[in-house]
Symmetry: C2
Subunit: 383 residues, 2 copies
């Protein structure tokens, strides 16, 4: 069998620094367990690349990356110093384009962002029950508000009209909703294995061990809101063991703050999912710990892409100050995903997750450098 | 001069109960100060009205309401019991339509939602600095994501495509941004009067006493994102005394949780404003205290509409349990708005605000009924 191959794209800002720690951890696990794992580095800092070649990635970037089983991405975005408008050379819309290009090019139609408030993570909410936050936000990642259709009529004049089209297909709607229900089942099964259970009530009063909450804004964005709701109601019949729930996106933001521990799986559109995952991330400890998984669960020839939710943080780049925790959780998720084909790799993913979680719990609030945190975790893995 | 006339539309669920308390307070203030204030009640419960007439409001509702200087709305939305799908008679898209109809019909192009964490209000954030939350979210209320353009192709089939068009005009963009800057100046002036100041830094390092933060999602929704940004950069030059700031909507949600006290005025599109105002409301005490003002600041023939941000809460309707605090803050805002023409009314608005705030501070966390709270505040006003 062929070994499992990872494309490592460090990107901009703190990306290279946190990716370096992820690679050290991967190397430690590879050596320890004799994992059949390889990786290749693609140093395409978007700013430098753009200055030299006028593009944000090489023209054949996707073709190069497609040969890999997964992509581990550091961070993108290097606008130049924000406080000097004259040096604002590369807008986000260019430097972040590779993210959207990969999601689209590899049809990574699921963006999965787990949110658990782990011991040691920063807690922003006053309520102690925040410790029970354990949700999985599933974002539709292939269409919707992100199709980039639209334009600017009479651009730059007082009579300008800018349009932006949202396009939703029933096919993509069905598959993301079905994926949500499957994940709800998987999570319930995992909880049973770990000896924990959670209880959710259905509308007709039965109790279930998992729940899917569908987010829309159907009272204002009616067309796709209604289609989403119909698809959800239909597919939910195939999952009588999973409780269902609807929230409008504005109410959902409010409930994320008021009682985030009540959510299990949350399914949302591309933009609404973007918003809700940032909110879920901060409620479960902030950008410093949040992984983001862009998955293509259906086509084995398409690599999935794993990135921390945080950005490139140009203000602290190159100083060894960035916290690699989110990057390491991201690498752990990637191994678990790749482990679908190779149980040893799945086990290594679990091991990495546990090591990062243990390090977080023991060092809560301590100020440590990028390398110090990476070393502590590598050491833990070597034991 | 003609007296100031208010159309009172109690609406559904808890609407009539909380509106009753607002009317008692208005009556108390009218009698006490001899205010030249009149009101008329329009009992159009959307559910009942719809069953009887097949509409959510009378056909000439807007024509009736237009004769008033302001509309004080309780709450809309009466879906029937949510736990019995067979009785799910009236979807939100119908029962809430009057809200959108009024905003559109009266060109209430500003939705203004102040968020201050007042003493006694519930605090969801762990950080003590949450006490300093004092922002004004200004939502574009006339176009954008809410134009209701789009449709469903091949509806109900596996090949369905649902579209939703977002339409933004430079004219509406300019006016909402300019309104934001004006409010920033007003707020700074008010703070000076009250002997408080706040300091914000501009990108080039100067300090200002107010700030406007523009929200977009320009890295993904490019067309209007760019137009908004260009308009903002241009208009900001007219306000060198106001510091400017940009945030992407996802990052803004995160920063609302991490450091909401850092915001002053926030300007956002219709949908992004909808999301951010719910979030701002919960961070500043929750739905129980949040007013929403739908304003037409330009056309004196068009009434503005004032509603609490909360919904109709059908689960507790008719039981005298609803907290009228948000409704009373809303009424106070309305009086302040109407007071632009009549200083005595403006003063009464301030008096009502102070009475409600004092009641909140003294009764924090106590369980009281709708009428009990209303009576306590009326009594305070009579003193
Ligand atoms: C960088 C940006 C285009 C991206 C998105 O909006 O999807 C980011 O916010 C994310 O959540 O991954
Ligand atoms: C009821 C609904 C249509 C409305 C909106 O989305 O504007 C509400 O959420 C609000 O914020 O006033």
């Amino acid at each position: 069998a062929q070994s499992t191959r990872i494309a490592v794209t460090p990107g901009d800002g703190i990306g290279p620094e946190v990716v370096a720690e992820a690679v050290r951890c991967l190397e430690t696990l590879r050596a320890k367990h004799g994992l059949d794992l390889e990786w290749t580095r693609f140093p395409w800092p978007s700013h430098a690349w753009h200055e030299e070649h006028g593009e944000s990635m090489p023209a054949d970037a996707l073709a190069q990356l497609q040969k890999y089983d997964a992509i581990l991405l550091g961070a993108l975005g290097d606008p130049g110093p924000m406080d000097d408008p004259d040096r604002y050379l590369l807008p986000d819309s260019i430097s972040l384009a590779p993210l959207l290009d990969m999601r689209k090019g590899f049809d990574q139609w699921v963006c999965e962002r787990p949110a658990r408030l782990l011991p040691g993570a920063r807690q922003y909410l006053a309520d102690e029950r925040a410790k029970d936050i354990d949700m999985l936000v599933i974002r539709e990642n292939s269409e919707g508000e992100y199709v980039s259709q639209g334009g600017r009529l009479r651009k730059g004049t007082p009579d300008e009209v800018a349009t932006q089209m949202e396009v939703f297909t029933r096919k993509a709607t069905d598959r993301i909703i079905r994926y949500g229900f499957e994940q709800a089942r998987n999570r319930a099964a995992d909880r049973v294995k770990e000896g924990r259970t959670r209880t959710f009530r259905t509308l007709d009063g039965r109790t279930c061990e998992s729940q899917v909450c569908l987010i829309t804004k159907r009272n204002a964005l009616r067309y796709w809101g209604d289609m989403y709701t119909e698809a959800f109601d239909e597919i939910s019949k195939e999952y009588p063991d999973v409780a269902t729930h609807h929230e409008l996106v504005d109410a959902a933001c409010m409930k994320f703050v008021q009682s985030p521990w009540a959510f299990d799986v949350v399914v949302a559109s591309n933009l609404q999912g973007d918003i809700l995952t940032d909110l879920a991330a901060v409620l479960s400890g902030g950008m410093g710990v949040a992984p983001s998984c862009n998955l293509n669960p259906t086509d084995p020839d398409m690599p999935s892409m794993f990135e921390p939710t945080h950005g490139s943080a140009p203000d602290i780049a190159g100083q060894g100050l960035a916290d690699p925790t989110a990057m390491l959780f991201t690498a752990a998720r990637m191994l678990e995903w790749l482990g679908r084909k190779d149980p040893a790799i799945a086990a290594a993913g679990k091991e990495l997750f546990d090591a990062v979680a243990a390090d977080l719990a023991e060092n809560s609030g301590r100020r440590r450098g990028t390398r110090e945190i990476g070393s502590a975790i590598c050491e833990r893995l070597s034991q």
